[in-house]
């Protein structure tokens, strides 16, 4: 006899519908799973066997063939257990097959028949809705992730018996209360750090706000303990909240990576991978659940602390994601495309000993300085719009206090973003950092003095062609923060002071 059930598998970021077909016929007892199943799926045979018997059902002592259709792509993970078990029960006539027709099943079985939530619940819920199935049965621990998808009927089943009961029209298990879920995972909503805790370093704080307002990539350089990491960590507090659609997109990415999703958060992601990360860790892999940090930072901030310590290939790998806003990975049997529209923040010491520019404390040789510079330069420095130097402050500067609170800064950044959005709508973009040559020509018109400054900078070798476009984008944002329509000379001047530059020493020996 033949039975069918609906399930889903996650392949990179795509969630694919899987038709689980089970056929039971007379013959020597055997249980085969075909259709490009990975190890976790093949191991399911043992789990399903035990779970069915321990739930009080009969495991058919006949020849069982399970086919995962369509067969063209690999299926991975234990999330198919529940669908397989139910199809076996229906094919052996122990439960009616009708209930399986319009219901998706998602969960891993324990030997005692209990159901465990699998990672990627949110993504599966979204796919269930798109596949026009009525109902999704899953374990209680992740049910709220599925409930984020509007218009989907979600039923909780904590065990195989409960799942069978729901399939034959019975009552689902109760949804666990939010409080008990939180306790179960020890998870809390992070409270955002505030900009008002930063004392002094006003130039860097202003740069941070410019960067937040225009979406510009930014590098902080300075001696240890001057607040580089501190500033970067406060970036999410001045970024505008995620829209509902963006939040759902972000949550799905994080869900696919196996992170528990409590609720849709409007706070932009902030990812700060350690500098020992590999290129694959940063951009992700083609296989299921292997989402890189770049994709996890999508719509938020990717912060590379101690930039000069990252391996060169790792930084090289960031070029495509930075340029295209997405990264595609193709391997022998898998391929995946991840969205990567993040803002890049980075921090570094100005030299290997960390004290360059701090009186005569720096003890680095010229060769060491050159090596440090070489590690930073090249692919990445070329894509940074702002370079801010932080300095150890003398006591008189230390008492300057904070420049502004996150609340004030966010409001200014939001206003500036609003101006950009309405101006750039026709170009299909929303941020100054995304302006191409055409948009720049149209929206950054300089007066004579501004033009003279830009061309003087070019003649002096202070700006490359690429550097010039970045300068204009940053100047546009500075004007937007002041609520001004025209880019003024002073905006160009301020942008020039924040441009990535080469020091005199580097130029004189080059």
């Amino acid at each position: 006899m033949l039975a069918r059930a609906h399930a889903f598998t996650i392949d990179g970021l795509r969630t694919r519908h899987v038709n689980v077909e089970v056929d039971v016929r007379p013959g020597l007892p055997a249980f085969a799973i075909v259709g490009l199943a990975d190890t976790a799926v093949r191991e399911a045979r043992e789990r399903i066997h035990a779970a069915i018997r321990n739930s009080g059902y009969e495991f058919p002592n006949r020849r069982i063939t399970a086919n995962l259709a369509p067969g063209g792509f690999p299926k991975a993970g234990p999330g198919l257990d529940l669908a397989l078990a139910c199809a076996v029960l229906a094919a052996s006539g122990q439960i009616p097959a009708v209930g399986l027709e319009d219901t998706a099943l998602f969960g891993e079985l324990g030997l005692d028949g209990s159901i465990t939530a699998s990672q990627g619940t949110l993504a599966v819920a979204g796919a269930t809705r798109r596949a026009a199935l009525d109902k999704l049965i899953l374990a209680g621990t992740r049910v709220h992730e599925a409930q984020l998808i509007p218009g989907l009927h979600v039923a909780v089943a904590e065990s195989l018996t409960s799942a069978v009961r729901v399939l034959s029209g019975g009552e689902p298990d109760p949804t666990p209360s939010r409080a008990s879920r939180l306790r179960a995972r020890g998870c809390e909503r992070p409270s955002l750090l505030d900009l008002s805790e930063v004392s002094g370093q006003h130039n860097a704080v202003r740069a941070l706000v410019i960067s937040a307002a225009g979406g510009h990539n930014c590098l902080f350089s300075g001696p240890p303990g001057t607040g580089k990491t501190m500033l970067a960590q406060r970036m999410p507090s001045i970024l505008p909240p995620l829209s509902r659609n963006e939040a759902l997109e972000v949550a799905q990415l994080h869900s696919a990576a196996g992170e528990p999703i409590e609720a849709l958060s409007s706070v932009r992601p902030f990812r700060a991978p350690h500098h020992s990360i590999t290129a694959a860790g940063l951009i992700g892999g083609a296989q299921r659940g292997w989402v890189g940090e770049a994709a996890l930072a999508h719509r938020g901030v990717l912060f590379l602390d101690e930039l000069s310590e990252f391996a060169r290939p790792t930084l090289e790998a960031l070029r495509q994601p930075l340029e295209d806003g997405r990264v595609s990975i193709v391997r022998a049997r898998h391929s995946a495309v991840y969205p990567t529209r993040f803002m890049l923040l980075a921090a570094t010491n100005p030299c290997p000993c960390g004290h360059a520019g701090d009186g005569d404390r720096c003890s680095c040789s010229e060769a060491e300085l050159a090596r440090h510079r070489r590690r930073l330069s090249g692919p990445l420095l070329d894509r940074l719009d702002l370079l801010v130097d932080l300095h150890r402050e003398t006591t008189s500067e230390g008492r300057l206090g904070s420049l502004e609170s996150s609340e004030q800064a966010r409001r200014r950044a939001l206003d500036a973003r609003e101006r950009q959005r309405s101006r750039l709508r026709a170009h299909g973009i929303g941020l100054n950092a995304e302006m191409d040559a055409g948009a720049l020509r149209e929206h950054v018109r300089l007066d004579g003095r501004g033009e003279a400054m830009v061309s003087a900078a070019r003649r002096r070798g202070l700006l490359s062609a690429r550097g010039e476009s970045r300068l204009l984008r940053v100047a546009r944002t500075i004007a937007d923060l002041d609520g001004v329509d025209r880019v003024r000379t002073r905006d160009i001047g301020a942008a020039l002071a924040l441009r990535p530059y080469a020091t005199d020493t580097e130029r004189s020996v080059a």
Partner: protein, 399 residues
């Protein structure tokens, strides 16, 4: 002395001197052990071939002697682009000629004719720490540029820090420059030095006592120092710590009766401790190219006192806001946070900093601090190869 005694003008060096050059490369490793003691190394280098072999050869003496005797001069070739000049040649620099401790033969990239020309002009050595501050780099660069522009030949070792900055400055003025790397001229340069070396060969010469593929390790630099001390008529120490290796050139030149000059730095900076010690010991204080030229071509005292080597504070025609910011940076308020008063509109100061940078009056030093640049350099640069002055003033007016 050379056994043949005849110099083939086209070949540049006689057989005896070329054999000497071969011997130095054969003994290079052994010489390196003696490099710590400069006086001893000087002594060794002034021995003749057989005595040198006897003093250094040790256990390998008989083997080396045999190879030395069997050597045919055809086996000693110069690298492409490198010429030899030995002390019997008419183009060998006069300053080195009558001194037993001078090298017997020099390998010259850039041509021996040019070497003779450059060594015939007044020669000033610029030296200092290999680990220089922004201030030191700036001073060395400006000084060398000024001297080169006045037709003085700048000579320095080809080393990091002050020496490289000076060389770059002299070459920027299209200048006459001589440089002494511590290796043979065929040894590969570190990548960072390659562009500097390439531009050196356009208007100056690189000299080495070592055969082209010979690594000098430590002794090569010391041997180079002794050539600099002999070729230069005057030595300027720009910034040096009070360590034997950073002071050696000045001491050697002083011992030979050459004028030693030094530039002052901050008393609190350990990087200037050596120059200050020299000044206390009676070195001449120089503030820039003009002071050095005054030492080379002494003028009547009355006239000298009226000439400042450092420009008067303030640059004629500079807009008041820019002048104010430039002066503040000079006093050490060299970051935006130090320049912008709380509550003040930050854009004004930032714009001024950028304008000054575009005019070449400010540069960026270590840690991104703004560093004042020498006005003469800045304005010449603006008027010459870079911007036309009228566009610059247009950009600076009415901030």
């Amino acid at each position: 002395m050379s056994s043949s005694g005849t110099v083939h003008e086209a070949l540049g060096a006689c057989a005896g001197c070329r054999r000497r050059s071969w011997l130095l490369s054969a003994l290079s490793v052994l010489l390196d052990f003696r490099a710590q003691d400069r006086a001893r190394l000087d002594e060794l280098l002034s021995l003749d071939d057989r005595d040198l072999l006897r003093s250094l050869g040790g256990r390998r003496q008989s083997e080396l002697s045999a190879r030395y005797e069997a050597l045919s001069t055809e086996q000693i070739a110069e690298a492409p682009g490198v010429e030899a000049v030995c002390r019997h040649h008419s183009l060998y620099p006069r300053a080195l000629r009558d001194d037993p401790a001078s090298p017997w033969m020099l390998h010259v990239a850039g041509g021996r004719r040019r070497l003779a020309l450059l060594a015939g002009a007044p020669v000033v050595a610029i030296t200092g720490s290999r680990r220089a501050s922004d201030y030191g780099v700036e001073m060395a660069h400006t000084l060398a540029r000024g001297l080169a522009a006045s037709g003085v030949t700048v000579i320095c070792e080809l080393a990091d820090g002050i020496a490289s900055a000076a060389l770059a400055g002299a070459l920027e003025a299209g200048g006459p420059a001589l440089a002494l790397p511590g290796n043979g001229l065929g040894v590969r340069w570190p990548t960072t030095k390659r562009p500097l070396y390439a531009s050196l060969l356009r208007s100056g010469c690189a000299l080495s006592e070592l055969p082209h593929d010979c690594r000098g390790r430590r002794w090569g630099a010391v041997a180079g120092e002794r050539i600099v001390a002999r070729l230069a008529g005057l030595v300027v120490v720009v910034e040096a710590e009070e360590k034997p290796e950073e002071m050696a050139l000045a001491r050697a030149a002083g011992a030979r009766g050459k004028t030693v000059a030094a530039m002052p730095g901050r008393l609190t900076s350990p990087l200037s401790s050596g120059t200050h010690a020299l000044l206390v010991d009676g070195a001449r204080l120089v503030r820039g190219a003009q002071d050095v030229l005054d030492l080379l071509y002494p003028l009547a005292p009355a006239r000298r006192s009226s000439r400042g080597a450092v420009a008067e504070p303030g640059i004629p025609g500079l807009e008041p806001m820019l002048a104010r910011i430039l002066a503040l940076v000079g006093t050490g308020r060299d970051t935006p946070d130090r320049l912008i008063e709380p509550g003040e509109d930050p854009a004004k100061a930032l714009l001024a900093l950028s304008e000054l940078e575009l005019m070449g009056l400010l540069g960026r030093g270590a840690g991104g601090r703004y560093v004042p640049r020498h006005p003469a350099w800045a304005l010449e640069g603006a008027a010459g190869t870079h911007a036309a002055p009228d566009t610059l003033t247009a950009a600076t007016q009415g901030i």
